[in-house]
């Protein structure tokens, strides 16, 4: 029995010692998922794409395909000059520039471009870290119980 408690990092309270209430309360909050709601979703539409990234968007001339622009739904005709996103989706320059001036993701696949908003970039990093640590935790858990 003692071995079990030692393994879990537990020990008996000393004479007159109180349990660490703050610690238990923190664990309670974590177990009930409050820590996750704290790192909640970005509360509104993500900010515009960074000016630099927009400037660097590739110009492409349409050869012969007759796909439509996903924003205005008009066909893209051969010879027309269009903008190509890093995710390879193409749009009329005016259509995509208007959109990226509003928010930073591809309207078709939500591929995210960098922004000039420090807060948003910090949020993205924190979110990625949280995902990474969750993955690590899952991997550790699976390695112990498989």
């Amino acid at each position: 029995m003692a071995g079990y408690f030692e393994e879990m990092g537990w020990r008996e309270l000393g004479d007159g010692e109180q349990p660490n209430h703050l610690l238990h309360f923190a664990r309670f909050l974590i177990d009930s998922g409050l820590d996750r709601s704290g790192a909640a979703e970005w509360p509104s539409l993500p900010p515009p794409a960074s000016k630099e990234a927009v400037k660097k968007l590739q110009d492409v001339i349409i050869e012969n395909q007759k796909k439509g622009c996903p924003i205005c739904l008009k066909n893209l005709e051969a010879g027309e000059k269009v903008k190509k996103m890093p995710c390879n989706h193409i749009f009329h320059p005016r259509c995509i520039l208007t959109w990226l001036d509003k928010t930073n993701s591809c309207p078709f696949c939500r591929h995210e471009m960098p922004t000039d908003d420090e807060n948003y970039e910090a949020y993205k990093k924190a979110k990625k870290r949280a995902e990474q640590s969750q993955n690590d935790l899952d991997a550790l858990h699976n390695s112990m119980f498989s």
């Binding site: 970005w42 509360p43 539409l45 993500p46 205005c72 739904l73 008009k74 959109w99 309207p107 078709f108």
Partner: protein, 199 residues
């Protein structure tokens, strides 16, 4: 800008009329005015849900800045669903708010609303009372949603238990819809529903 919105809606309208969902009758779209700023949508309640057999009307308002901003949509047909206000028909759905993308169309939005009817999201509720019932009393939630579908959306499944309780309140001189809301909100407890209306 207004021009882009109208032109795009016209293109969408042509496309959607040829879509298999419209041909199959699971969604419908109609014009309300000549300048393409307001439309009326219709979705069929998905099978194997309490909404099955019902037809739900939607008000669709197209902003001048469409498609850079989402269309404004609410249910005109009264519906009992955790993500739709049972009072105003307002909808809580991420793609109609901060998850909107310019490549989404009225067709994809109507299909998403249909999917919302199949899978309510009680953790992001629009109507707190409905969401609570959805979580804590799924059997009563299903019964209530089916009853509302029968009464307001033309659904075929009559829920006799609900009808007779509503009738009991009608006999006391209470307005029918008010009675239904009170009973639905108090888990069909006749006594508590009456108390709430007279208290």
């Amino acid at each position: 800008m207004a021009n882009i919105a109208a032109k795009r809606i016209k293109r969408e309208f042509k496309e959607i009329m040829k879509s298999e969902e419209v041909i199959g009758g699971s969604i419908k779209l109609g014009l309300v005015n000549e300048n393409w700023t307001e439309l009326k949508g219709e979705i069929a309640g998905p099978v194997d849900t309490p909404y099955e057999g019902g037809t739900f009307l939607l008000e669709i308002k197209v902003p001048e800045t469409y498609p850079f901003n989402p269309p404004k949509i609410r249910f005109l047909t009264k519906i009992w669903h955790p993500n739709v206000s049972s009072v105003t028909g307002a909808i809580c759905l991420d793609i109609l708010k901060d998850q909107w993308a310019a490549a989404l169309t009225l067709r994809t939005v109507l299909l998403s609303l249909q999917a919302l009817l199949s899978a309510g999201e009680p953790n992001d509720p629009q109507d707190a009372v409905v969401a609570k019932q959805f979580r804590e009393n799924p059997r009563l939630f299903t019964m209530t949603a089916r009853h509302w579908t029968n009464v307001y959306a033309g659904g075929p499944n009559i829920v006799h238990e609900c009808n007779s309780k509503v009738q009991r309140m009608l006999d006391m001189g209470i307005d029918e819809h008010q009675a239904r809301v009170a009973l639905s909100s108090y888990d069909w407890d006749l006594e508590r529903a009456t108390e709430q209306l007279f208290g």
